[in-house]
């Protein structure tokens, strides 16, 4: 079985967010780019599954939609262990456009498991994985916090309100993963980084696809009032403020 991991190239989570002067685009000056945290966990789990040879995972492929500037992030994924990478050469217009590109890649290979992160840390859309599954007309499972294989059979743990469910769906399917899928994201070792340079990174042209939404404008939240400080030996005052001023008790 082959596994495809969809990778979104996102600003480092500590980035101070800035926009262009007219607030219509994200200002990426000085930004460090990373593999979207959930995608990184998905990739880590894919590598673990492949390493246990009894699972019969033959290849782990990573794919990202974006201009040439996303290639360092794909190389990072190769350094972590992916066997090959595909970049769809297009600007990630909206989630639907991205999902359509991924569907074209996913549909052209015999991938049994297709993994996406539950959201990207920039647009927080929680959309691409589900859209991809609907375009491919295959099952999807979301909020996945565990995935094990036994030969071709995949068992999935998904989070539900107040608990967990163990489910299975027939392959091929799209798995939308979150925290728990892997313990810690795997970090590329020196050897991996050296090897990544020689691994295949294929560039494919974008297919025609519709965008259904457009982010027109950005705004920063209103600056908030400064924190009211209360002395540590006057807890009573805090309780009074919460009761009478904030009215939250």
């Amino acid at each position: 079985m082959r596994i495809l991991v969809c990778i979104s190239n996102v600003p480092d989570t500590t980035t101070k967010v800035k926009f262009s002067a007219d607030n219509t685009s994200f200002d990426d000056g000085g930004v460090q780019w990373i593999i979207n945290p959930w995608d990184e966990l998905a990739l880590t789990r894919a590598m673990e599954l492949k390493e246990d040879t009894s699972n019969g995972v033959s290849r782990v492929t990573v794919v990202s939609v974006g201009p040439a500037s996303v290639e360092p992030t794909l190389r990072k994924a190769l350094a972590i262990g992916a066997d090959d990478a595909i970049r769809v050469d297009g600007e990630a217009g909206d989630a639907h456009y991205v999902a359509a590109q991924l569907a074209s890649v996913a549909g052209s290979g015999d991938f049994g498991v297709i993994l996406c992160g539950i959201e990207s840390s920039d647009y927080n859309g929680s959309a691409v994985g589900g859209m991809l599954s609907e375009i491919l007309d295959v099952p999807s499972v979301s909020a996945i916090s565990g995935l094990t294989m036994n030969g071709e059979e995949v068992t999935i743990t998904r989070d539900i309100d107040g608990g967990k469910e163990e489910v299975s769906v027939p392959a091929p399917f799209v798995g939308v993963v979150q925290k728990g899928i892997a313990k810690e994201p795997r970090i590329a070792a020196m050897r991996g980084i050296m090897m990544a340079r020689k691994k295949p990174l294929q560039v494919v042209p974008a297919v025609d696809a519709e965008t259904l939404t457009e982010t027109q404008e950005f705004a920063m939240p209103e600056p908030k009032a400064p924190c009211k400080m209360v002395e540590a030996d006057n807890v009573k005052e805090l309780v009074g403020l919460l009761q009478n001023e904030a009215k939250v008790l």
Partner: protein, 322 residues
């Protein structure tokens, strides 16, 4: 513009989130004088269904006899059929696990642009333009939907419930899909019964690494119990195994928006704030006066959480007793 709102049930019951969703759908429909149809899937009794009318649903479509174990494809088909039946142009769902699982599928099936995690009614409906948080709450983005119909998923605890009274007519709806076609096999369910969910709680008491050890959690739990709230923690705390993973809040954990969030011994890292910055009131207790949490907090105490907690518990008990 008419609105369809999908209302999930929990063991046959609705909850605060359901009424929030209907109130929101009502406000969206009200912008153009449209109607609200609520959709329920699974076994929910008539009284419970018609109670949605009190929050603005004009009618309720009820699809019984479908397993509550979520099959994304089956639910997508049912909701799409209800969209057609109701003639709605806007579909509203919760931005919770279920909503996140099916809204994007519906977006493709209905060719309807998806704006997820919205916190307010649209600025305009034609074209539909709505604001949502982006960059994990660090900014807002104005999303314009380019398609004829739209899907909005509402962030939990972000919209005021508006009870207008009345009840809605309930219609049994036959979506014409084969429930036995579901491909998801549910092998096992583990659920904690009767526990207040972190995402539902109005009050959340949270501890970070500054609590020093998992053995120090008793006062956090006690304070949560006194305020009928839930407990939460920062990521390192759950990574250390001091607290269960379900309590981890932040960018990579749960995203919550309670009325009151109290952070004890939490530094306020940007990734932690991403999960709690929609809280209406944030209280922080930290030994370090320069801890970044104070920049996001409304009220703060520079002090030892382990000393402040017992005092706070007794003061709150005293205030409540009055």
């Amino acid at each position: 513009m008419s609105v369809l709102v999908y209302n999930e049930n929990w063991d046959g019951k609705f909850k605060k989130l359901s009424y929030e969703l209907v109130s929101y759908a009502k406000a969206v429909a009200g912008m153009t004088g449209g109607t609200v149809t609520a959709l329920s899937i699974g076994n929910v009794d008539q009284d419970e269904l018609s109670s949605l009318g009190a929050y603005g649903a004009n009618s309720v479509l009820s699809v019984a006899g479908v397993s509550e174990g979520l099959d994304n494809q089956l639910y997508t088909q049912i909701i799409a059929a209800a969209m057609e039946k109701s003639g709605a142009k806007v579909l509203v769902l919760a931005n919770n696990n279920t909503g996140k699982a099916i809204a994007p599928r519906l977006s493709v099936k209905l060719k309807a642009g998806l704006a997820s995690g919205v916190t307010a009614v649209p600025e305009s409906v034609d074209p539909l333009v709505v604001s949502k948080k982006v960059f994990s709450g660090k900014a807002y983005g104005k999303v314009k939907v380019l398609s004829g119909s739209a899907i909005l998923t509402l962030a939990q605890n972000s919209y005021e419930i508006n009870e207008t009274g009345g009840s809605a007519a309930v219609e049994a709806f036959e979506p014409g899909v084969d429930a036995s076609s579901a491909l998801t096999t549910i092998k096992d369910v583990q659920k904690q019964e009767g526990k207040l969910l972190l995402t539902d709680a109005d009050v959340v008491i949270s501890g970070g690494r500054g609590m020093k050890s998992g053995d120090n959690w008793a006062p956090i739990e006690e304070l949560a119990a006194v305020l009928e709230g839930a407990t939460a923690c920062s990521r390192p705390v759950s990574d250390e195994g001091w607290r269960p993973h379900e309590e981890h809040t932040g960018q990579t954990g749960k995203i919550i928006a309670p009325n009151l969030y109290m952070a004890f011994g939490i530094s306020g890292a940007i990734q932690h704030l991403a999960g709690v910055n929609s809280s209406k009131c944030i209280v922080a207790v930290n030994t370090d006066k320069d801890a970044p949490i104070f920049e996001s907090a409304d009220y703060g105490i520079v002090g030892d959480a382990l000393k402040v907690l017992p005092e706070l518990i007794s003061e709150i008990k005293a205030a409540k007793a009055q």
